[in-house]
Symmetry: C2
Subunit: 226 residues, 2 copies
């Protein structure tokens, strides 16, 4: 019975990693499509989001089945509950990739990326992809040092997000309203992607320690230390 | 033992209702603060969000404790798992109220609400408050007819959200970039609030039927029927 249970938990973990990999592909394609106004690539992201959603639902059903059949306690129970929470965050990260792809498609054949902000959005996109990669590794290895990397990348995103608003609200900004709308939405999406990753990071720490306070402290230490 | 268990489930439900009530107060104050540039009211919302977050975490801990001690199965298990999901959505609805309050504070003493969009934002705010009220009732009564009301209000929000972009992107729009940014963010927040409520609605239906497909179909019927 324990053997069966541990196989189930490994199944849960490998499915989380699989979803995180799909989210990584989605954000990579979405940010590249946004940069190059590649509407075909954007369509791929929009279509593939259904697969992420289905896999998240299937994982939730598996978690519920494990709870019902194997009635885990203590750390095992926390792993299953954390999996439910993590899958919800990953699913929302996939939604964000889809939103960025929709923005690209909406503006096509014009560029969604506003003039004067190209390098900022390129950096934000790279940070999101790096975060998604690191998060996948964190889920695979549970190596807490990776939380540091995610948090630092998220801090970088927050700074870039603030710089977008600084630019848009400055006197030198000559963009039309549509460019302002696009910059506002895209920057918000790219920044939120990082927030969700940090939220998953907390859940992974919680999973290891079983304590939200420790999870939050660990994050705070990372923040103040970095 | 069953008696204790059912008391626990009632406790879970009454706590969900309590959080939904706090979210209702938050969105009511946040949208009024946004309309009237009332920074003191906005501050209240920002401060009170910590209470919502704490209550959501406490509810999650209670749900985990119930899973560990009472090892529910079948419908009882689904109620507990749904509670975890619903609390996460309510917590995010509270965050949205806080974001709207932060927008108000950021622009103070200027008005965050852009000229020419006042009546649109007033309507969106009223729909959000109505949705929060109805959601609280749905959680209290599990009356599925209320799902219809929430879905209709959310459709109204979607239309108003689209009309904000139409206005901002029209030739007649003379707003500065800051007004465009505020309109974009505020409209997005107000519209997302409705999405989260619809998502809770699906979870409540799932809770009663134990089937995501039915939950999704029920929503679809509401959509195509209304």
């Amino acid at each position: 019975m324990r053997e069966v249970f541990h196989q189930s938990l490994e199944d849960v973990q490998s499915r989380l990693v699989e979803i995180a990999e799909l989210v990584t592909v989605a954000i990579d394609k979405a940010t590249r499509a946004f940069e190059s106004s590649d509407v075909a690539l954007a369509e791929e992201v929009i279509e593939a989001d259904d697969i992420i959603d289905e896999k998240a639902i299937a994982l939730d059903e598996l978690a519920i089945e494990i709870l019902a059949r194997q009635q885990p306690v203590a750390r095992d129970l926390r792993i299953v509950v954390s999996a439910l929470r993590i899958s919800a965050s990953l699913e929302r990260m996939g939604d964000i990739a889809e939103h960025i792809a929709q923005l690209t498609r909406m503006r096509f054949p014009e560029r969604a990326i506003p003039k004067g902000l190209k390098s900022t959005f390129t950096k934000m996109g790279q940070l999101d992809v790096e975060i998604a990669h690191t998060l996948t590794e964190l889920l695979r290895t549970e190596d807490h040092a990776l939380a540091d990397k995610i948090r630092n990348a998220d801090d970088g995103l927050d700074e870039l997000h603030a710089s977008v608003f600084e630019k848009v609200l400055s006197d030198s900004w000559k963009g039309e309203a549509s460019a302002t709308v696009d910059a506002t939405l895209a920057s918000r999406y790219l920044e939120r992607f990082g927030d969700h990753a940090v939220s998953v990071t907390k859940k992974v720490i919680y999973l290891s320690t079983g304590d939200w306070t420790t999870a939050t402290d660990a994050i705070d230490i990372v923040v103040s230390g970095g």
